[in-house]
Symmetry: C2
Subunit: 246 residues, 2 copies
């Protein structure tokens, strides 16, 4: 059974202010919640699920918390999805070990607005073993329920910071910064660079000019047809593929 204060609390976590105050976020849907539970290092605060789900996954909750069994209609009241899916859970935000400058690829995101795009970027980064994502402060919030949803569990594995991108680039002079831009040079060759920052810009206006000026190379995906641009996550995926390609 759900009490009114629980419903109000979960709904409040749709807002950054309340998530920040408690250092928590909401994940929902069986697939994502299971991934986060299995990740191990993410603390489960509370979990609300329908009976069938609890029966099947009891073992994952043993020794953690006492879950709240709810009815389908109750699930609808606390879900952020249009089609609620069995379980809603509150987790503590993940903490990553402080690392000065990770090996490999760092993804820099300048003002990504769409939650689905941000989540897909995190998921794509995880696939290509990107260790760190640095977002400009005006990028969408990582713990927005729609972003959490689109990361498909990768939120547990990729470190995401919010920082001034100019300062970040300047503070890491040992790592070359490549910018993805529609008027860059065509990406034709594999990029075999052991340590690299890849800068991706806003969905409509691209990368701020003063930021783009800090990149040592500007690259683009060769266009063969007529679309005006590629989706940011698709563009990032293609470039990451070409960096990671054997």
């Amino acid at each position: 059974m759900l009490v009114k204060s629980q419903v109000k609390y979960i709904q409040s976590l749709g807002h950054k202010k309340f998530r920040d105050a408690d250092g928590v976020f909401v994940a929902e849907g069986s697939k994502i919640v299971l991934e986060l539970l299995q990740a191990g290092h993410i603390e489960l605060i509370q979990l609300y699920a329908v009976k069938e789900w609890l029966l099947k996954n009891k073992i994952l909750l043993a020794g953690r918390i006492d879950p709240v069994e709810i009815e389908s209609q109750e699930l609808e009241r606390i879900s952020f999805l249009t089609t609620p899916n069995q379980v809603v859970a509150i987790f503590r935000k993940p903490v990553f070990p402080a690392e000065e400058e990770p090996e490999g690829i760092t993804l820099l995101l300048d003002n990504i607005q769409d939650p689905g795009n941000l989540g897909t970027l995190v998921r794509t980064a995880d696939w290509f073993d990107v260790r760190r994502i640095v977002c400009s402060p005006d990028t969408a919030n990582l713990f927005n329920p729609k972003v959490v949803q689109s990361t498909m569990g990768s939120i547990a594995r990729v470190e995401v910071l919010y920082d001034d991108l100019k300062e970040y680039i300047v503070a890491h002079p040992g790592t070359p910064c490549y910018a993805a831009e529609l008027d860059g040079e065509d990406l034709e060759q594999t990029l075999h660079i052991p340590r690299i920052m890849l800068l991706i810009g806003n969905e409509s206006r691209g990368i701020y000019q003063d930021l783009s000026a800090l990149a040592i190379r500007r690259i683009r995906i060769p266009r063969r047809g007529s679309a005006e641009s590629l989706n940011v996550a698709v563009a990032a995926g293609i470039i990451l593929f070409m960096i990671r390609k054997a």
Copy 2:
């Protein structure tokens, strides 16, 4: 001024049944509506916009229709977006010249469910000059307002059919079919194939087995990190890039 019957009619076009009955669809937001107006071959049926937009784009409407000027509050009543954007227009569905088997790449989509994914796939296809997309009948509807939105205007340029994919593959024995699958062989080399069908599967369960059996090769994007899968549009983008790569 909007009259009640117009509001009801536009809202009804959120449903496939009503779109099919009249052979029309809704596009909204300045960027997409402008792309469709400039495409030339898509008939404009009606257009509702705020004053500023009409003043700026009057010339594009000359000799086509008499647009309806509306207030911002009225726009909210007919918009399918959470953030309405200046203009909502009704267009006739595009018709493409019947072509037996187009040159180049044909994309086959098996049961893509998410409207944003379908729209992004159409946009990505357009970037890489894919001439035809064939969707299984259970794929999301192309003219769903969210799909139209995510195509970013590419809906005007890529022919999209709905057909039984098994029958389609069997009917085109001259075109090799490649399937994108998580357990396929790693995509390492450029695919220089003048005529190819690329088969992409459902977001959760992939490609139906009996369909996958018709592919002559099964490929996957090499995984370097830990994510369980890639987003379908990202995966398709990477493979299309490798087919189109010089």
